[in-house]
Point group: none
């Protein structure tokens, strides 16, 4: 018998799969009501099944009109071929910062590196380099998993 967490996980992954852009936006309370559980249960599922090492980014806002957004990393074979634009790179960095995987300064530095001043914005070559750099960053996040200080 699968647990509640498993069912919520499955439910969210189906939503993401069916989405156009590999992401889904929910309201914690609403989802909790749907599954008739405590809101913190949703937080738990996110924390255990939608981690960066699983390839997910989550973003949220509190207060009125609050939400939780779950997004899958753009790190599939497709991205390797098409590359990543400056804007996509910035969005990803923003996500990583918001999720606490990068500090403000780290994100800042990377943004500068990936920016137009360094990489010609109108070049496919640049997009590919951008992808390679970001891919490395993601890999580091995955592998280090909270042990950055060992560097």
């Amino acid at each position: 018998m699968r647990s509640l967490s498993d069912r919520i996980e499955k439910y969210l992954k189906v939503l993401i799969e069916r989405s156009e852009n590999e992401e889904v936006e929910i309201q914690r309370i609403e989802l909790a009501e749907t599954f008739r559980c405590a809101p913190s249960q949703i937080t738990y599922v996110l924390a255990t099944r939608f981690t960066a090492s699983e390839g997910f980014i989550t973003e949220s806002k509190r207060g009125g009109g609050g939400f939780i957004k779950i997004r899958k990393f753009p790190l599939d074979e497709n991205s390797v071929k098409t590359g990543i634009s400056e804007t996509q790179a910035e969005n990803t960095l923003q996500d990583l910062k918001n999720s606490g995987f990068l500090t403000g300064r780290e994100a800042f530095l990377l943004r500068e590196i990936l920016g137009r001043e360094v990489l010609d914005p109108a070049s496919d070559e640049s997009d590919y380099v951008r992808f390679k750099i970001l891919h490395k960053v993601m890999k580091l996040i995955k592998e280090m998993e909270g042990q950055w200080d060992v560097l």
Copy 2:
């Protein structure tokens, strides 16, 4: 479900987009009536979504015939092509100073750097350099968000 603030923000941004000169002028009470909310709600939206670090400047006047004017910084892709004149640069610096994002000395220094003695006023190349410098400044303001001292 998006919040009232989100809807008002969207509304104003559409107005700005449709305008000729990237600015819009409204009356607080009128807009509040349109959205059936307290006038201070409008002030809140301005304070949270139309900040300088978001690329906006607001200006207002009280009393009879009062108004609120919202302007977008001239720092979009278009500016990249056309560059920024010395006068435009000065206006932007003035705005940044008035909004409290730059101190008097900082604005002064930048004004000197961007001025005619350093950058030939009759050169497209200069306009482009001016844009790049200002853009960097804005970016720093945005990224550092009150944490300049960490550098």
